[in-house]
Structure formats: structure tokens, C-alpha cells
Amino acid sequence: MRYLSLTPEERREMLAALGLENVDQLFSSIPATVRLGRRLNLPAPMSESEVLDFFKAAGAKNVSTEDRACFLGAGAYNHFIPSVIDSIISRSEFYTAYTPYQPEISQGTLQSIFEYQTLICQLTGMDVANASLYDGSSATAEATLMSTRVTGRKRVLVSATLHPEYRRVLGTYISNLDIQAQEIRCGDDGRLDAAELASALSADVAAVILQSPNFFGVIEDIAAVAGVARPAGALTVVAVSEALSLGLLKPPGDLGADIVAGEGQSFGVPLSFGGPYLGLFACREQHKRQMPGRLVGQTVDTEGRRGFVLTLSTREQHIRREKATSNICTNQGLCALIAAIYLSALGRKGLREVAEQNLRKAHYLKRLLGDRLVFSGPTFNEFVVRCPQKPEELNRRLLGEGIIGGLPLGRFFGDRTDQMLVCVTEQTTRSQMDDFARVFSRA
């Protein structure tokens, strides 16, 4: 849409229609005591070239994954982004963040979302995927709410190894609802404590919510969890923060998950200081009417030609009002398109190859730091190590050597102030890992 500013003549006409003399009169109802009464304290205007210089200088202060080795993961992953993504998403036909309502003028966008949904179903092993939500944390929170609608129960069991930020968002979502969350700890292997889970399950539990690979990088035994949740009538909600793991691990749906929610940033979405990211959401056919968010379906027009439309909209706010399944009635259109392009460009084989590279490289570093590992459970591309010195101090030394270190766990876990979550992706080179291990061990 073009931005056309108003002419002074147009302003006069509008004021005349309102019976006013000047724009200030529009604000006369705001008490003088709360008005600023002076100009904003802003620097003088700059020319275009001055603005460019200003931002170049500011940008040069950034430390980016472009020019540093990066061992930071924890929900935001430094993966390679194929150039084809920028080239396709920059087409003006696609360049909107919004979900289109009108199938008459939006077939291209709707088809891209339909293909995205299909890819997510294939990756997660689920029947239905929505057009995406905001991010992994809100998708996990929405999955929690959905589990209470499906079961009519009001208590959920949340793994302590669900990403701490996801847990915070989940807590906010349920803080004013009649839903109780109980935390389930992990054992020495870093996996959900099966005994504690079994004793916490009861006839009022709507869902068990766990992440895999979990926040400590450990791959959970989803089948075992679903195996005890199902007989108790509880759903199994699997959150995935590292979506690339789906390229290698068995799909959660094949292991008994009822809802898969997660973060799709790994599929070609830039790190971008934490967002915009991509909320993945998929469920079983039998629960689709309780699913939040938009959904694109395939149909035929009056002449039998294939077409795409928004479907099952009766779940949504514009029809169902306060009884809608969610107050989210949009999606991350552009990021979903990015994921669809990423997955299509790599293909089944390519995705598996990238995932294998993550696994192999991470295990190379794991071997180098072998005696420092905290958990014995299997991992994908992240793992926790006990540091020989304070993790924050270690990170300062690493940065001095051009390396962005891992995440000090003390930030989220008071009993883990000596531990660091380390991530290795296909972008990490062997010499970077050797350097990391050298600085790490020299402490």
C-alpha cells in the first residue's frame, strides 16, 4: 500500500467538516497536566546519507554469527540459510505477513501455506497442521489450552526441561484461567523422571507437556511418556524447539504424541535477535476442531479445478467470538513461507543430511569435552557441560578469542550456575570446536 501524506488543503477540509480551527483542538479533552508541553527531545533531522552513516556505525558494534564462531542455541539456532529463500520471499506477491481471507485474490499465498502445512504434517507425523502461530512458546501454550478443551480437564504436567521461556509464556497464558500446572523433574540422564510422572498422573490431568530434544539437549523417550499418559486419559504434547531434529529423529506423531508444537526458526528463518520466529502446530484428525489458528484447505471450484481456501473457520474469533479456540487469528505468513521454501529446497534427503551434520559435529565436541558432560541421555546438537570456571567468565574469555560461547544455565536454573548449554550446528567447523575445547580446558 502506498503512503500518501495529506495536503494542507485536505487538512483544512477535514477540520472544517469537524467544525474546528486547528489540529490542537482535537486533543483539547486531554488535560493540560498530562501533556508534554514541549517538543520531544530528539536530535536534529539528518540527511539520507547521514542516516546511513549513523546506522552503519551502530551496526558495526554488533557481534554477529557472520563473523564469529557461535556455540549458542537454546531455542534459536545458527543454521545456513539458502539464498533461494530471500530471492523468493522478496517477490511482492508474497511480501505480506498476513493470512489472506479472500481466496479469489490469494491463491498463490494460500497454496504456499497449504504446502507448508503438508510439510509440517510429514515432519511431525501428525494429521493436521495449522497455518502457523507466533513462535514456539506461544504454540506450546496454545497446545496446553487445547489439551484442556479436548479432555475437559484442568491440570497439566509440565516437564522441568521445557524451555524456561516457553514455561514462562505458558504460565502467563494460564495465570487467569482455571488451569493448574505441575512441574515434573528430570532424572540423572536428563530425561523426564518416569517414576515422578507416573505418580503425578491422575484422572484430572489434561496433558503431559514435554520438549524433545529438551532444553538440556536430551532426546526424550516420547513413546514411554505417551504410553503412560494415554491410559490415564491425558494427551501427550511434544514441544520441539530445534525443528531440524525432525529431519533425523522419529516423528513425534509416530511415537504417540497427540499435539506437536514448536519453533520453526531453524527452517531458514534468520536469528534476528529473537524474532519474528515461526510457531509450528500440528495435531490429530480427531482433535482438529479444537485446534487454534488458521487452516488452509484444498478444494475444487465450480469447474472442478483445484483451489485453496481458509477452512474450519468456525473455530475462529470472527465467527465464534468468545467461544473461539484461540484469540490468535493470524499467522506468521512470511516465516511459514520461508520454512516451506527451506524444506522444499533441501528435500527429504537434504534435510536429513543437514541434521546428520549437526549430530556428528555436536558429538565431535561432546567427545572433546567428554569428562565434563552433565547428562547421560542421548542428544542431538546441544548438550550441557560442567565448566571448569564460572560460565560467564569462560564466555568472556571465549569472546576474546572470537568465539560466542554457550548459554550459562545459572540464568534459568539456580542449582546449575556451574553449567553451560553448548550448541553445535552444521555451520560450526572442526577448528572452531578445537579452539572452543582448548579455551575451555585451559581455565
Partner: protein, 130 residues
């Protein structure tokens, strides 16, 4: 407009037929016509209890979704599970095969607040100009 005798009716276009203290509830012929092709019916679980006027389920058509309100207070004895596979039954046969729930009445005097077939016909003519 098909408005069978011996049924009781609500202003929200539900019907209930009562034998002893058990009622069978559905939506009227007028309601199904207004909704159009029914594509989904959401029904409660047997055993749940609803007060008069409380929504116990919903009927979804290609153009709208409507709550269905309980004409009486009582506990659900049985739901018409065949509607989940064949929701169009509500369009085809709203008063017999398209029944929605069987309910155990707690207070049969509540039926006095409902409309007779003649009342409902008049209501449709007057209120809705039919």
C-alpha cells in the same frame, strides 16, 4: 413449515418430546432450514448436566455455527452419536432421526414455560414474519 404436535418448543428453535421424566431434544425444521447444510454437530458427554437455557452443544453449517440450548434442566442420558458421521441427518429428518440428546428431567413443571406446537407456529409467523 413442519411443526409436529405433541412437542414442546423454545424461542431458540429447539424442540423437546417428553415421556415420563425423559426428554428427547433436537432443533426444529425452521432452524435447520435457516442454518443450511449442517456439516458438524458438537454434542456433550453423557452424564453432564445442563440448566434451562444453557448451551449443551452446537450445530455448524457451511455458513454459520449456532449454540443449541437446553429447554429444560437435567442430566444427559444419551447423545445421538450417529450425527458425528452423518450430520446432514439434522437437515433430512430434524424431528426423528436428527434428535440430539436424551435428557433426564429434574423438574417437569419447567415444560409449562415452553411453547406448544400452535404457540410455536404463531411465534414463527409473528416474530419472524413467516
Amino acid at each position: 413449515m413442519n411443526v409436529p404436535k405433541d412437542l414442546f418448543y423454545t424461542k431458540e428453535h429447539e424442540w423437546i418430546s417428553v415421556k415420563d421424566d425423559t426428554g428427547v431434544v433436537g432443533i426444529t425444521d425452521h432452524a435447520q432450514k435457516e442454518l443450511g447444510d449442517v456439516v458438524y454437530v458438537d454434542l456433550p458427554e453423557a452424564g453432564s448436566r445442563f440448566e434451562t437455557g444453557e448451551a449443551f452443544g452446537s450445530v455448524e453449517s457451511v455458513k454459520a455455527v449456532s449454540e443449541v440450548y437446553s429447554p429444560v434442566t437435567g442430566r444427559i442420558l444419551e447423545v445421538n452419536s450417529s450425527l458425528s458421521d452423518a450430520p446432514e441427518t439434522i437437515n433430512q429428518d430434524p424431528y426423528v432421526k436428527g434428535w440430539m440428546v436424551r435428557v433426564k428431567l429434574e423438574d417437569s413443571t419447567e415444560l409449562h414455560n415452553l411453547m406448544s406446537a400452535d404457540d410455536y407456529k404463531r411465534y414463527l409467523e409473528e416474530e419472524l414474519g413467516e
